[in-house]
């Protein structure tokens, strides 16, 4: 290879609006064969990377869920708007997860470990890293934004090691950058600089030594021993060379991030750069702890995220607005990541084409903690592993473990089962899957003097002014409004049944000529489980 691989120092330069400027070296990697791996047919193919982005505190389901679409004909939801331009690169999964309730800590473990009780096994990102890491300098990166939530430590970790142990996470972009691109092992000029520095400090120590008393001498001896040991270590390092054709010292160090937005953008820049330079092939990144109490003051929101996420019990229109602002910011970060991965040319496509990105949360409904319809999106073709541009809504609620198993198998991890899942999730590569189909059902209303019983589809109000209100849709009739206390909402787990036909019985009332149910006394699912379990799953 005769090309000059120098990289312009403007790598990290941003435009005035904070968006990345187009990078001047996008095509540099086009001809690179060095980072490729040889496939079974003996062809050189780019390595496939795995990356996961974690969104804390679930979602506001009416804003997130896609209702009514099918595999190749669907409209993205309001919360998906920030990344809707990547639709062709997405595989949106629905009906993932099947628990009534989930604690924050359990939902965090489940996100990449298949099941919350899978506590003695590595998370799927680590198993994939083990499989595809090859001779990359960093087998995997475990990244986050926030400090440790020590009260429930599990809330702070999605990646787990071989024995299920929590893997330390790093949040400082400059520190990550330095570890990735300023390692003396990779940079001969740094080693040369340290060698001359050692010469100089030895001179200084020697001159002190000449004037020293016996106690000083002892101390200086300790110092000089370390100087000599460091020289020896540098000599040994001379053998190490950077595998990448890129001169790392020419990549500009990112500036100090002064707020969360900058910190996350910089970290995403680094993740993309690390994947592209083949410094690592696997990274996980938490936008916050599972129960994040961060305050998004740069978005003008003064309340804690976790408080707002409990939007039913802490209901106000302002709170809903604040929650959605935060959620939209999370979605923008996913968009930023995808845009970034697409901006790098990698062999005959983009970096995203040769990556699998798993984006999502650990729970669905953020107030009720239902671990059902958990937001889950895959992005990137993974070099052909995934057939994107589709919406897969499964007929039955799926174990997250089956998704993890399917992905791991695609990456070549030799596993037949994972966590509670005995079979991989179908359909990711375009193969047939058991798609959700509307089953016909009758809908009706029965009234007594003080009771009302309705069979119909339960929905949450899409009107943000009444975000704690539910409706029962009844054919040939106006919907029946359901205004219930938090207790009923929680005890009957209304959030779990949203979108499905149920029989709901409760107290009858009327308001402005509209039928109203005020207290729930019974709930039966027409096709599914009436009680999805109260286990803190």
């Amino acid at each position: 290879m005769t090309r000059n691989w120098s990289i312009n120092r403007r790598t990290f330069l941003r435009g005035a609006a904070g968006a990345m400027m187009p990078l001047p070296f996008l095509n540099l990697m086009e001809a690179s064969a060095d980072s490729g791996v040889t496939n079974l047919a003996g062809e050189n193919t780019p390595p496939v990377r795995f990356m996961s982005l974690y969104k804390p505190n679930g979602v506001h389901p009416p804003s997130w869920n896609i209702n009514g679409g099918v595999e190749n004909d669907f409209r993205m939801s309001p919360l998906m708007a920030p990344f809707s331009r990547h639709k062709d690169d997405l595989l949106i999964l629905d009906n993932m997860g099947d628990f009534g309730f989930s604690s924050h800590a359990n939902s965090t473990r489940r996100f990449l470990s298949g099941h919350h009780q899978n506590t003695r096994e590595a998370s799927m990102d680590q198993l994939i890293a083990e499989q595809i890491g090859g001779d990359t300098t960093h087998r995997s990166l475990e990244l986050t934004t926030e400090g440790l939530f020590t009260g429930q430590i599990g809330c702070s970790y999605i990646s787990y090691g071989p024995g299920g142990e929590r893997l330390p996470r790093e949040s400082d972009p400059q520190l990550i950058f330095d570890r990735l691109f300023r390692n003396p092992l990779d940079i001969p000029s740094k080693r040369a600089e340290m060698t001359s520095l050692l010469d100089r400090v030895r001179e200084d120590a020697d001159s002190l030594m000449r004037k020293a008393g016996s106690e000083d001498k002892e101390t200086l001896d300790e110092y000089l021993t370390v100087v000599r040991d460091t020289e020896k270590r540098i000599e040994l390092m001379q053998k190490g060379t950077n595998r990448s054709p890129i001169k790392f010292e020419e990549i500009q160090r990112p500036p100090l991030a002064t707020n969360l937005d900058e910190q996350v953008n910089t970290m995403i820049d680094l993740i993309a750069l690390a994947l592209w330079t083949d410094s690592t092939r696997c990274a996980t990144y938490m936008l916050g702890n599972s129960n994040s109490r961060m305050i998004f003051d740069f978005l003008g929101v003064k309340e804690q995220h976790h408080y707002l996420s409990h939007f039913f019990r802490n209901f106000s229109r302002d709170n809903i607005d604040g929650l959605l602002k935060i959620s939209l910011w999370h979605m923008e970060k996913f968009d930023y990541l995808l845009t970034k991965l697409k901006s790098y040319k990698d062999h005959n496509g983009t970096l995203l084409d040769h990556s699998v990105v798993l984006f999502g949360s650990g729970m669905g409904h953020s107030d009720n903690h239902t671990a059902q319809r958990i937001p889950t999106i895959l992005a990137g073709q993974g070099g052909g592993m995934l057939k994107t541009g589709r919406y897969l809504r499964y007929a039955e609620n799926q174990e997250l473990g089956s998704l993890h198993l399917a992905l791991m198998q695609s990456f070549g991890v030799p596993l037949d089962s994972y966590a509670n899942a005995g079979a991989p999730l179908q359909g990711l590569d375009g193969s047939p899957f058991n798609e959700y189909r509307e089953r016909p059902f009758d809908s009706w209303i029965k009234l007594t003097s003080n009771k009302i019983t309705v069979q119909g589809r339960l929905v949450m109000s899409e009107n943000l002014d009444e975000a704690k209100t539910f409706y029962m849709e009844v054919a040939d009739n106006g919907p029946v409004r359901v205004d219930v206390s938090f207790r009923d909402f929680h005890d009957f787990n209304l959030a779990y049944h949203v979108g499905t036909p149920i029989i709901l019985e409760g107290n009858r009332d009327e308001k402005n000529g509209q039928l109203l149910m005020t207290k729930v006394s019974d709930l039966k699912s027409v096709f599914g489980k009436s009680q999805p379990g109260k286990q803190r799953g």
Partner: protein, 655 residues
């Protein structure tokens, strides 16, 4: 400490060599060897070595400085009649007195001398603060801090290995923690990232502090000239070495900048600054001190004195005022030292006395294990720290550590002060915030029972589980008594005797029937059981607990009969902790002050105390006891003391 008899009297003759013995006793080596032979060696020698004390490995004839700890302990137990055990043959009062006299002539009636000069590496917190003062910014670990999350905001504290405590028990005693390649790599990394930030374009603020003229606001590297480079190097080296660098050194560095400009100049400049940051003169304290040739005992030079003051009171390098006083040679004036201590204690940097010195002395980091949630941890741990900071920096008497009507509390901890909490400014939780730590408020206790002073703060009681640990902690950390390790052959503590289940107190009463156990437990147990009216979370069970914070409630609450009475080895008895506190304030006052002096002096000198420090400890203790002295008096006396201002240079060789 009872083995130092009549300290008040002695203090007056601190600098006199006065080994005169008041009555005629035989302290010849032969007599002493017979004493050990007769009373000690049977259990503490050769084959049988109880409590890791072995008289066969240590010689009385050649009792030297290194054996100070050993003989100090021996003299203490002999004088207290703790040893020989009751069921063994006892020495006569004359024999005991002779042994005591021998000990005092060797280790007590000694001339006060300073310690031998020894440079030492900056501890990690010292290094962090020194870097911050040098650069004007802290090296931060970029991490989002949300309520209830634990973060390490300092990159240095995050990446450096934890300093082990030295022989003194303090981490600034780094003699036993030499530099390693791991530490070297971290130093190199910190130097690199700090210099990158110092020279970041468009941010000249920190760089301007090293220049005689200000750079333009949006400066570029091209704006820096070699002449400016020289000025930067001179100022930087001076601040980094905590004393002026020689002209020769500066010129030597500056010539390497000649003819360079822009990026090349900055690169060369950074390299020179990096060599300073990696040199022994920066990384070690005392490495560049000017020694007076041909003199063994000597005053430390003014820059060294400035450094000693600033690292003692601030855990940081000297500021400009200290530095200019050192430069003018006036700092060593006692009056100036007094003024400086006063000024320094008023600075927020003096908070390190609580956060670092007191935390290490009193093992306050053990509080970290009590509370999982940072919300509780910060609220409860800040109580003793704010209180100690108040004692240290607001001229409060030393003894207020035991008894004070002032406490510091927030809405989280206020339940411990039910009858006074109404005086607090009401805490209003902001909308949308689930839990929040609020700063402590100063609260004067008028009606609250069972509180006041450090020992009954909830976090202190909670970090010491049970009466034995509470008693041991009080004995060692507050009264300053040496307790040996428990012997290897501890008789089992029986919970059930004759089918009757014994209370915890009864179990230890039985335990004390064994003379070996009684030696320590006679002292530990009464102190520990005096705290029985406080549950394991530190709640006071005898007062109205309805408003107790959740974190302090306990299943054990409501025990109708709490026995807090006790009898000390001195024969003094008490009914409850309040009465014990009065004993502490009167008959144990001197012990508590003495221990405070010893701990503070040891921290200030960054080393273990030796026999030759005894007279200094005696003198300061006497003065504080007599005048009901304050912590500020204590810090000032130490700053003016002989070991703080002088040193011994062993060999000065020119080769």
């Amino acid at each position: 400490m009872p083995n130092r008899t009549l300290p008040l009297l002695k203090a007056a003759f601190t600098f006199l060599l006065a080994p005169a013995i008041a009555f005629s006793v035989d302290t010849t080596p032969d007599a002493m060897n017979r004493f050990v032979e007769q009373y000690c060696i049977q259990c503490h020698g050769g084959e049988k070595v109880k409590g890791k004390v072995d008289f066969t490995t240590i010689s009385m004839d050649a009792a030297g400085e290194d054996d100070f700890d050993f003989w100090q302990l021996a003299a203490e137990v002999v004088e207290y009649e703790d040893m020989p055990p009751e069921d063994e043959k006892q020495p006569s009062p004359e024999e005991r007195a002779a042994f005591q006299a021998w000990y005092e002539s060797h280790y007590v009636d000694v001339e006060a001398t300073p310690g031998v000069f020894q440079p030492r590496r900056l501890s990690t917190p010292e290094y962090r603060h020194t870097m911050r003062s040098l650069f004007g910014f802290d090296l931060e670990n970029n991490v989002q801090k949300a309520e209830q999350t634990a973060v390490e905001p300092s990159l240095i504290l995050k990446l450096m290995p934890t300093d082990p405590p030295g022989e003194s028990g303090f981490i600034n005693d780094t003699h036993a923690a030499p530099i390693s390649t791991v530490i070297w790599d971290q130093y190199a990394y910190f130097a690199e990232v700090a210099l990158i930030r110092l020279f970041s374009r468009g941010h000249p603020q920190s760089l301007n502090t090293l220049l005689d003229e200000d750079l333009p606001k949006n400066y570029k590297h091209e704006d820096i000239t070699p002449k400016m480079g020289e000025s930067i190097l001179r100022n930087f080296a001076t601040k980094a070495y905590r004393r002026p660098a020689s002209d020769e050194e500066i010129e030597n560095m500056a010539t390497r900048l000649d003819g360079l400009s822009g990026a090349k100049l900055v690169k060369a400049l950074k390299f020179e600054m990096q060599t300073i940051l990696m040199s022994p003169g920066f990384l070690y304290r005392g490495m560049r001190m000017e020694k007076q040739p041909g003199k063994k005992q000597q005053e430390v030079d003014n820059y060294e004195l400035a450094e000693r003051l600033s690292y003692f009171l601030w855990e940081d390098s000297p500021d400009e005022e200290l530095f200019s006083l050192a430069a003018s040679g006036t700092l060593s004036d006692s009056k100036i030292i007094e003024e400086q201590v006063d000024r320094m204690l008023k600075s927020p940097k003096a908070r390190t006395l609580a956060d670092s010195f007191a935390t290490q002395w009193l093992a306050l980091d053990e509080i970290d294990d009590v509370y999982n949630d940072p919300y509780q941890l910060i609220s409860f741990k800040s109580q003793p720290l704010d209180f100690l900071n108040y004692l240290f920096t607001e001229e409060r008497p030393v003894m207020e550590i035991i008894d004070s009507d002032v406490t510091f509390t927030s809405h989280v901890t206020a339940g411990a002060y039910p009858k006074d909490r109404k005086k607090l400014e009401k805490y209003v939780k902001p909308r949308g915030i689930e839990k929040q730590v609020a700063p402590n408020q100063k609260l004067v206790l008028e009606n609250t029972e069972g509180r006041g002073g450090l020992l009954t703060m909830p976090a202190i009681l909670a970090m010491n589980h049970g009466p034995i640990i509470r008693g041991t902690w009080t004995l060692r950390r507050i009264l300053g008594e040496h307790l040996g390790e428990p012997p290897a052959d501890i008789p089992p503590i029986q919970a059930v005797v004759g089918g009757k289940k014994l209370s915890f107190r009864e179990q230890f009463e039985m335990h004390r029937d064994d003379a070996t156990c009684a030696r320590c437990h006679d002292k530990i147990d009464p102190l520990g059981f005096a705290f029985e009216a406080y549950n394991e979370k530190g709640a006071y069970l005898l007062s109205d607990n309805s408003s107790l914070p959740k974190e302090m409630q306990s299943k054990k609450q409501g025990n109708p009969k709490i026995d807090t009475a006790g009898k000390l080895p001195t024969g003094e008895t008490f009914e409850n902790f309040e009465a014990l506190k009065q004993i502490f304030m009167t008959s144990r006052r001197e012990d508590i002050v003495r221990n405070s002096v010893k701990q503070t002096l040891s921290y200030a000198l960054c080393r273990k105390l030796e026999a030759y420090d005894g007279p200094t400890v005696d003198a300061i203790t006497a003065k504080l006891v007599e005048t009901d002295g304050t912590w500020q008096d204590l810090f000032t006396e130490i700053a003016k003391s002989l070991p703080f201002r002088q040193t011994i240079i062993t060999v000065t060789k020119e080769s």
